[in-house]
């Protein structure tokens, strides 16, 4: 039998009132499982930034979480516009968020760099007009 736990989340697009729900849920689960506070914090940051990106840029998407004794794998998949220039998007401070989004406190251009910083491994697969999949691994 597999010793892996899997969770699936649907993130609805443009719904800011629910953005962060998936992250909160996962955080609560990890706490219950007794993951260390540092791991919980790293996962919460990575997942929340990814969730917000999906809402802002891609009209939502799905998140699959796999928890094993060694690590936590987050796979965030959307069918949004894709990222034209990943290198640029990864730069701290670079953002394509609208004025409206900025007025809500987002668009600081920290999302992807936070995800990179707090995950132990991050991979972005993106195809313009097709969508983006971000995979992050956080070691236990």
């Amino acid at each position: 039998m597999s010793d892996k736990l899997r969770f699936h989340y649907e993130v609805s697009g443009e719904d800011f009132t629910r953005a962060g729900e998936a992250s909160s849920d996962l955080k609560a689960k990890l706490k219950l499982m007794g993951a260390s506070p540092e791991v919980v914090r790293k996962v919460a940051i990575c997942m929340y930034e990814g969730e917000i990106n999906m809402v802002i840029h891609a009209c939502g998407g799905v998140i699959d979480v796999t928890i094993s004794p060694a690590d936590i794998l987050l796979e965030l998949k959307d069918v949004g516009p894709g990222i034209p220039d990943i290198e640029k998007a990864m730069q701290e401070g670079y953002s394509t968020a609208s004025e409206n989004i900025r007025s809500l406190g987002f668009g600081a251009g920290m999302g992807l760099s936070n995800m990179k910083k707090y995950s132990d491994e991050m991979k972005i697969d993106t195809v313009l007009g097709v969508g983006t999949t971000v995979t992050m691994r956080i070691n236990m």
Partner: protein, 119 residues
């Protein structure tokens, strides 16, 4: 010091009571991604950014409470979310720096007797 003791001392408006948590410091920021990355556990978060996402970031980073500075207006959705997640939200009329300083000074004042105020 716990949150209720804190707002009792400072006379802030309580918008949502939430959980009475330990407050061990102050953190100020309005950009949510920055707060997400730099916010400190158990800190009172002073900000003028008042929306549902402020509550989400507060819970994810495990900050103690949200203190809306400058008399920031607050919408129903934010209060709903705060109720749902049991987050304490207060409001101060002073600007961010003055609010943060006031909290910081209060924490320092009660610093030595922190334990008895946490009971």
């Amino acid at each position: 010091m716990k949150t209720y003791k804190l707002f009792e001392n400072l006379g802030y408006e309580i918008l949502n009571k939430g959980e009475d948590r330990l407050v061990s410091g102050v953190y100020c920021c309005d950009l949510l991604s920055v707060a997400m990355s730099k916010g400190k556990e158990n800190a009172a978060w002073v900000t003028v950014m008042s929306n549902v996402n402020t509550v989400a970031v507060c819970t994810l980073v495990d900050m103690s409470c949200i203190v809306l500075a400058d008399g920031s207006s607050v919408d129903e959705a934010m209060l709903e979310k705060a109720k749902e997640h049991n987050v304490c939200v207060m409001r101060s009329k002073l600007p961010v720096f003055e609010t943060a300083k006031e909290i910081f000074d209060t924490l320092n004042l009660f610093g030595d007797r922190l334990e008895e105020y946490c009971d």
